[in-house]
């Protein structure tokens, strides 16, 4: 559409653009700069070049955090992918109550992380025994403090995080399954295809593009995960569930090491960008949504 005035579009765009630049662009660039200095917010800032990064790669807590992050990503991604896909297949296979099930299953997504964490902390507690542990004892297993035990805290965190967000992926997979052309499926039925086979040989391969997108989203999202780890376990006990993001937050706001934590932030930013780029290159591309 023509415009009379060449400046009109810019007039429309200026407010949003200004806000966006000040709030998003400037801080990102500032963070990049901050990562090269040593600063605690009170004494003078001193330029240290890349030494923050060198310190970072030698830091045992940081290395533990990154490893935890990778394990967390693996577990949470697998959980959300599998459960999301399964629920979507279930939705696609039932004839009634689809909407109700969809609505119910999406509820965890909209509950505040704070609230959800509190509920799970109570559920998984050891003393007093939460519901979960009561059931476990009744079944004959020994109850455990799932969140308070260094060996189980990370897995528990990953499962709770997955529980919260898998609804989104269910919705995405479901939309994709619904979009599969019915003609192909009907033709297969005529050829004697059963329920399980229709999924295995037709529908799932046909949503390969969406599957890739979901995988990218999951890995990207879990790598950056901050709220759930911070609220549920705060990285503890010890460093058993420390994530790169929580470590960055703690370095900045508890230890006042602004330069160092900026370096961690930059590392996270690069990690996500690299992960997404690599994934997009090596995965088969289908029709994206």
């Amino acid at each position: 559409m023509r415009t009379g005035n060449k400046f009109t579009p810019w007039l429309f765009s200026l407010p949003a653009l200004t806000v966006y630049i000040i709030i998003v662009l400037v801080p990102v660039i500032w963070t990049l700069g901050l990562s090269t200095v040593d600063w605690n917010g009170i004494t003078k800032m001193s330029f240290t070049g890349l030494s923050n990064y060198r310190k970072m790669f030698k830091d045992p807590t940081f290395k533990a955090a990154v490893l935890n992050n990778l394990r967390f990503t693996l577990i949470s991604t697998a959980y959300q992918y599998i459960i999301g896909l399964s629920m979507a297949i279930l939705l696609n296979s039932i004839t009634r109550g689809k909407n109700i099930l969809k609505v119910i299953y999406f509820i965890p997504c909209i509950i505040a992380t704070v609230a959800l964490s509190q509920i799970f902390i109570k559920l998984l507690a050891l003393e007093p025994k939460g519901v979960f542990n009561v059931v476990i004892s009744a079944l004959g297993f020994t109850p455990k403090s799932f969140l308070g035990n260094p060996s189980t805290s990370l897995v528990t965190l990953a499962v709770v995080d997955g529980y919260k967000y898998c609804g989104i992926y269910m919705v995405i997979f479901y939309s994709a399954l619904v979009a599969v052309s019915q003609d192909v499926v009907e033709a297969a039925y005529i050829d004697g295809c059963g329920w399980f086979q229709q999924y295995r040989y037709i529908k799932i391969p046909m949503i390969r593009g969406v599957s890739t997108v979901v995988l990218v989203m999951l890995i990207n999202g879990t790598l950056k995960s901050f709220e759930m780890p911070y609220i549920l376990t705060n990285g503890g006990p010890g460093t058993s569930s420390e994530m790169a993001a929580t470590y960055m937050y703690k370095s900045a706001f508890s230890s006042m090491r602004y330069g160092y934590s900026s370096a961690i932030a930059v590392f996270l930013l690069c990690e996500c960008l690299i992960a997404v780029t690599l994934l997009r290159k090596f995965m088969p591309k289908g029709e994206s949504e």
């Binding site: 559409m1 579009p9 429309f12 990102v28 509950i111 950056k224 993001a245 706001f253 932030a265």
Partner: protein, 244 residues
């Protein structure tokens, strides 16, 4: 109080012994929850209004007006969605401190608007693709200028998209934790999620009943919005997740 704690002790795995609103009363009296509720409402209302007010014009410009840097501008905004929010926390902390904005509502409104803009803009531009240009051309021929076309023709048509944007963003803003935790330290200015966390920290081990009451009150608004507009919420959140 004794009866109350007895109830709490058995709450772990037994059905409640009857409706006991005392928990809610207790939670409301002893904590900062009413004030926090108010804060959350203000932040949510301001953030959503500002975001819609900023996103609509830009989307109109990029979707319907012709100008040279249209595509670059779009990519510029979309780039913002890739950035994890906490990467910018430290500089924002310094800026807001220096500008005296810490512990004010603006400290929560601005980042959420800024980082939320890309998605809102994307949703509006996608919607605008469905509006045929001929409609706008007709108004153009009748002598309307761009502003009038925007206000009288396009804006009313964007109502549905606006509802979708507002509903699912409301969920995000209401539940927002990171910025509130970082920028709001004054007790009077904290929003609901933070206050809930403090409450649970203080009373979580001692008073399960009140803690659960507090949790329920905190999630009630989002549940209400969700049950009335679940379709919009689901659509919006799924799209938001895909795009980022």
């Amino acid at each position: 109080m004794g009866h109350h704690f007895q109830l709490a002790a058995s709450l772990s795995y037994s059905l409640p012994k009857g409706f006991y609103l005392g928990n809610y009363k207790y939670a409301l009296e002893i904590s900062n929850i009413p004030r926090a509720f108010f804060n959350s409402v203000i932040v949510a209302f301001s953030t959503l209004t500002l975001e819609v007010a900023l996103a609509c014009p830009v989307a109109f410009a990029m979707g319907k007006l012709n100008f040279r840097f249209k595509n670059q501008l779009m990519s510029f905004f979309l780039m913002g969605m890739m950035i994890p929010t906490f990467v910018c926390l430290i500089p924002m902390f310094r800026i807001y401190n220096a500008a005296g904005l810490r512990n004010t509502y603006l400290a929560l409104i601005l980042p959420q608007v800024g980082f939320g803009l890309p998605l809102s803009i994307y949703m509006y531009t996608s919607f605008l693709d469905f509006i045929p240009n001929s409609l706008l051309e007709a108004a153009w021929i009748d002598g309307a200028n761009a502003f009038q076309i925007f206000l009288k023709v396009v804006l009313p048509m964007m109502k549905n998209t606006t509802i979708t944007v507002i509903t699912f963003k409301f969920i995000y803003v209401w539940n927002e934790f990171t910025y509130a935790n970082t920028f709001m330290t004054g007790k009077q200015m904290k929003t609901l999620p933070i206050t809930l966390k403090d409450f649970a920290g203080e009373f979580g081990m001692v008073n399960w009943g009140a803690t659960y009451a507090a949790i329920t009150m905190a999630i009630l608004p989002t549940l209400i919005v969700y049950f009335f507009l679940s379709k919009n919420v689901i659509e919006g959140m799924a799209l938001g997740a895909v795009k980022s």
